[in-house]
Every structure is written in structure tokens, then in C-alpha cells.
């Protein structure tokens, strides 16, 4: 556990400090906010994919549930933003609990079922029949609580907590147990690991993280449609970033987000006409030539990546 604290100090604190100070020198604060959000999402995905091997293709479902948990609390309960953030977390956790049976599936079946579940949640929330509750397809406006600076800070706080969680998983016995489950659930069981419980914990933690990210996203952008909160590209970006950096480490997903999302924006701003093409090619090359992520370059040479 000592090592965990050290790694957190070495990896997370500089990152957090940089992100806290960045708005002073760089004014596209929303881009920085999106960096924070993807850092959170990538680490949340890391908790379930990196440590248990389940690829939640519908991860955006939790994100959207969090965004709408936040929005509903503000619209109907007149909740303060922080209380609404708690509601965002609870909404995603509740969805996580409902979807726990999906953990019985494996491989592509799990990924597809999870995608279908996220779609189903989206279709319910965006249904005009629920217009009085969710505003259906007509989108929500939360201008009453709009507070970009405060929500930026809260997002940073969530990132700090998420990184701490992953640093802990990386070094605590639970993290090791989860990795064992990922490698071989049967063997893990024979090593005394409570496989179902371990998976469920990782699943719910990861749902909670996405829900909080969704909540703070809703707070920060304040006007959005269901299509925005349930945009499948949130799932895909989080997966690609995590994979690119290297799952099951603290540093991997961070590098993944900083490099790839950074590149994404640089391409988008400099050569918008070939945006999609370049990004597609990049992803293909990544999977073919670096399937275990950047971190594997170090681990293959026997170095430990925090």
C-alpha cells in the first residue's frame, strides 16, 4: 500500500496540479474539462476492463444515467449541484445493480448486451411518453445551476478520487485478485478469490465513476439532449484511450487520454477535413501494432508501470 501512495504522488498529483493550473494559461477551458472527463471515464473503464477483463461497450449508459440523475435532481427536486451530483452517482449505481446479471455473460456477449442495455436506457429516457419527467427528446436546460468554474473544480476532485481508487486497486490485494479473475476466473476461485463478489465490486465502482463523470458533464455543459448524454462515442473514446495507454495500470489510461485525445483535438483543429479518416487509421494501427498499449512497451522489458 505504501507503494500505492508513492505512485499516486508521482503520477496523479502532478497531473492534478497541471489541470488545476492550466485554465490560468490556456483559455479553452472546455477542452481542459473534456480532458478531465475522459481521464475519469478512462480510469473508470480501467477499473472494470483493466482489472476484470469485461469490456463494457455500453459504458456510456452509466454516463448518461449520471447526467440525467443530475438533471432530474435539479429540475424536480430543486437540488443544489452537489446534492444533484450525489443523485448522479446513485442513478448510475442503481443502473449498475440492475445490470449486474450481465456479468454472467462473457466476451463479446457481455459487450453487446451491455451496449443494448445502454441503448435501452437511452430509448427510455428520450421517449416522449416520459416528457413530463425527463423532457424526452426535447433536451434539458440547467442554466439555473450553470457554474463552469465550480464544476471544473468538482470534476478535478472526481478525477483525484478516481485516480486514488485505481492506484489503490493497482497495489491493494483486491486489485491483484481482480486481475486474477480477469486472467482465469476458475483458477482465481481455486486461489480463494470470491469471483462474483470481486467482479461486482469492480462493476459497481466503475458504474459509479461513470455516473459522477456524467453528472459533472451535465452540470458543466448545462444544455443537452439525450443524444448528447448517451453518445456512443463516449464509450468508444474511453475504451480506445484506455487500451492505447495500457489497461490495469494507473499511468496507462492517463497517457492514453493525454496523447490520443490531444491528438484528436489537434487533428480536429488543424485538418478537419480528414479528421475521421486519420483517427480511424490511427486506431487500426494501434490495435495491430500495440495491442497491449503503451504500458506494455515497458512491462515487456521488465519495468513496472505504476
Amino acid at each position: 500500500m505504501r507503494r500505492g501512495v508513492g505512485e499516486y504522488a508521482a503520477v496523479a498529483l502532478p497531473l492534478l496540479a497541471a489541470l488545476a493550473l492550466a485554465p490560468l494559461v490556456y483559455s479553452n477551458e472546455l477542452l481542459l474539462f473534456n480532458f478531465i472527463m475522459f481521464l475519469i471515464l478512462a480510469q473508470g473503464l480501467n477499473a472494470i476492463y483493466g482489472f476484470t477483463g469485461y469490456l463494457p461497450f455500453g459504458y456510456v449508459g452509466f454516463f448518461g444515467a449520471g447526467a440525467y440523475g443530475f438533471a432530474l435532481a435539479v429540475m424536480h427536486l430543486d437540488a443544489s449541484p452537489l446534492l444533484a451530483m450525489a443523485c448522479a452517482g446513485v442513478a448510475a449505481l442503481a443502473l449498475g445493480v440492475v445490470l449486474t446479471p450481465l456479468l454472467r455473460l462473457s466476451g463479446a456477449y457481455f459487450a453487446i448486451a451491455n451496449l443494448a442495455a445502454a441503448q435501452a436506457v437511452y430509448q427510455v429516457i428520450s421517449n416522449p411518453a416520459l416528457q413530463d419527467i425527463t423532457k424526452g427528446p426535447y433536451g434539458v436546460t440547467l442554466s439555473s445551476v450553470f457554474a463552469p468554474a465550480l464544476s471544473y473544480g468538482v470534476a478535478l476532485g472526481i478525477l483525484a478520487a478516481t485516480l486514488a481508487l485505481v492506484a489503490w486497486l493497482r497495489n491493494a490485494r483486491l486489485g491483484l485478485a481482480l486481475q486474477a479473475i480477469r486472467e482465469d476466473p476458475v483458477s482465481a476461485a481455486m486461489a480463494g478469490v470470491a469471483v462474483v463478489r470481486g467482479r461486482t465490486i469492480a462493476w459497481l465502482l466503475s458504474a459509479l465513476i461513470a455516473g459522477l463523470a456524467g453528472g459533472v458533464f451535465a452540470w458543466h455543459i448545462s444544455v443537452f439532449y439525450p443524444e448528447t448524454a448517451f453518445d456512443l462515442s463516449f464509450s468508444i473514446f474511453a475504451i480506445v484511450f484506455t487500451l492505447f495507454g495500457g489497461a490495469a495500470t494507473q499511468l496507462g489510461p492517463i497517457l492514453g487520454v493525454l496523447l490520443l485525445y490531444g491528438l484528436y483535438n489537434v487533428i480536429g483543429i488543424t485538418v478537419p477535413q480528414y479528421f475521421q479518416l486519420i483517427y480511424g487509421v490511427l486506431i487500426v494501427l494501434l490495435v495491430l501494432f500495440l495491442p497491449d498499449g503503451l504500458a506494455s512497451l515497458a512491462t515487456r522489458r521488465g519495468f513496472r508501470v505504476p
Partner: protein, 291 residues
């Protein structure tokens, strides 16, 4: 209304069997998820559109050309990408990401080449007026598309169960490692299955302007969601399962449209999840214990 919904559902379901068929074959043989499947369908649609618009080629003729051309197109893609992918540790998961990238590439190129406007082929090309079937009026184009789909399913079935390569293909589906150990040229069998899968997606694309109203470079995502529902409900890897999944999907969708239209898209997803939870390998799947 009920009779019409069920009949349209069956006809529509036949077409959606074809939409899922290629995806299923590729997953069954290689255990990879071709997320670019919907975009190959889109390419098929544009191929048929341009063949019709430029040289006036009948879609039934185009479908033969598309089948051959897309199979030939599939081979180099297979050799460029798949063997390398399969060598990775978690290829089943990685495939989703890889083919997401491929999908982005296809969509980007299609947008540059074809623009973003909707394209289609007039329905009368496949026959004029509604066709009366069991007292219900159905668009002729639908019935033709369904018939072609059934033919394609039958051919795939014959390929798998009546040809030597097909037998080998099924062996690879059952257990890739065993097949490799017993001297089957797994790589060649897979390449063939991949090419056929891509060709079937292209074929589905040829008829998509008739079944889906029109085609745009962005249509792939929705096609994928439908195809996933179809093949998972049926059972991944088995063409008969795909048929069953397609019919269930079609009928369920039409019934929802009839009685709760605003919720129509929710049903396939709920069906998919329910089927997976009750029978994790799909309705026709073998009961295998996957530890």
C-alpha cells in the same frame, strides 16, 4: 392490423436475417466482432445506387457483381488485419476497437466520395404496385428483397453443411485450436469465411435502399445495432439461429410499431438482453459451460 404486422414482420425479418448473416459467419469462425459490418452494408447500397444511376443496372444484376466484388475486397482486408488481430491476447475484445477504426475509415472515405445526401433506387425497379399476399398488401420490393435473403441463407447453409470447405469451416467454428491441431488450414478457411461475410453484407446493402428508405454514409451504426440484435437473439455462429433471430426481430419490431410505436426501438434491445440472460448462447446455442 395484427395480420399485417406479423406478415410484414416475417418479410422484414427475412431481410434482417441477411443483414445479420455475414456478421454472424465472421464471428462464428473467427470470434471477432466486425463493427464495420454496417458500413460494408452502406458500401453495398452505394455500389448498387451508382451502378443503377450511371449504367442503369438492375439491382438483381448488381447484387451478383457486388457479391463477387465484395468477396474479392474482403480477402486483402482479411490478410492485412485479421491474422495479426487473432495473434493478440484478447482478440475478441480488441476486434471491436479495431473494426471501429475500420468503420471510421470507411465512413470518412464514403463521405468524401459520395457526399452526405440520401440516395436510393426507385422501388418500381423491383416491380410495380403492392403485392397481395394472404390478404395483405406488401411492397413488391420488400418481397423480392426477402426472397433474395432467403436464397442467400439457403446458399450459406448449403456451403456449411454440404461442401467440404463448409465442413472444415464448421470444425473451426466448434474449436479453432482443435481444428488447427488436426491439420485444417484454419487461416484459409477463415479468409474464405471473412470474404463471404463481407460479400453478404454487401448483398444486404444492395437491397437496403428498398428496405430502409434510403442510404447515407452515416447509416452503418443503426444497421449494426439491428444486426447485433438479430444474431445474438438467434445465437452467435449458427446461420439457422440467425434466421430465427431475424424473424423474431422483424415480427417483434412490427408488433411494437403497431401497438407502441414510440417504444419500437426499445424492444430489440430488451429482447437481446433477456435472451442472453436466459440462454447466454442464444436461442439455438449449444449449452457450453464457459468458465
Amino acid at each position: 392490423m395484427l395480420a399485417h404486422a406479423i406478415l410484414s414482420g416475417l418479410v422484414f425479418g427475412c431481410y434482417f436475417t441477411l443483414v445479420g448473416l455475414g456478421l454472424n459467419l465472421i464471428f462464428g469462425v473467427m470470434r471477432i466482432v466486425n463493427l464495420a459490418h454496417g458500413d460494408v452494408v452502406m458500401l453495398g447500397a452505394f455500389a448498387a445506387f451508382w451502378l443503377f444511376a450511371l449504367v442503369g443496372l438492375h439491382p438483381l444484376m448488381s447484387s451478383v457483381i457486388v457479391l463477387a466484388a465484395f468477396a474479392l475486397l474482403g480477402l486483402p482486408v482479411y490478410y492485412l488485419v485479421v491474422p495479426r488481430l487473432l495473434a493478440a491476447r484478447d482478440s475478441e475484445m480488441l476486434s471491436i476497437i479495431l473494426f471501429f477504426g475500420v468503420q471510421q475509415i470507411i465512413e470518412a472515405i464514403a463521405t468524401i466520395a459520395f457526399g452526405t445526401s440520401e440516395r436510393s433506387i426507385p422501388g418500381r425497379v423491383l416491380g410495380r404496385g403492392p403485392l397481395h399476399l394472404l390478404g395483405q398488401a406488401l411492397p413488391v420490393a420488400w418481397v423480392v428483397s426477402a426472397a433474395v435473403s432467403l436464397l442467400a441463407v439457403a446458399l450459406v447453409y448449403l456451403y456449411l453443411y454440404r461442401s467440404r470447405v463448409g465442413t472444415l469451416t464448421r470444425a473451426v467454428m466448434v474449436n479453432r485450436d482443435e481444428a488447427l491441431a488436426s491439420g485444417i488450414d484454419v487461416n484459409r478457411v477463415s479468409a474464405l469465411a471473412f470474404a463471404i461475410g463481407v460479400a453478404l453484407a454487401g448483398l444486404a446493402g444492395v437491397f437496403s435502399p428498398f428496405m430502409l428508405g434510403s442510404a447515407t454514409p452515416a447509416m452503418g451504426g443503426d444497421v449494426n445495432l439491428a444486426a447485433f440484435a438479430v444474431i445474438v437473439i438467434g445465437s452467435l455462429g449458427d446461420p439457422r439461429g440467425t434466421m430465427l433471430g431475424g424473424l423474431i426481430y422483424g415480427v417483434a419490431l412490427m408488433l411494437m410499431q403497431t401497438y407502441m410505436s414510440a417504444w419500437a426501438n426499445l424492444l430489440p434491445n430488451l429482447l437481446l438482453i433477456a435472451v442472453l440472460l436466459v440462454r447466454p448462447t442464444g436461442l439455438l446455442g449449444r449449452q457450453v459451460r464457459r468458465a
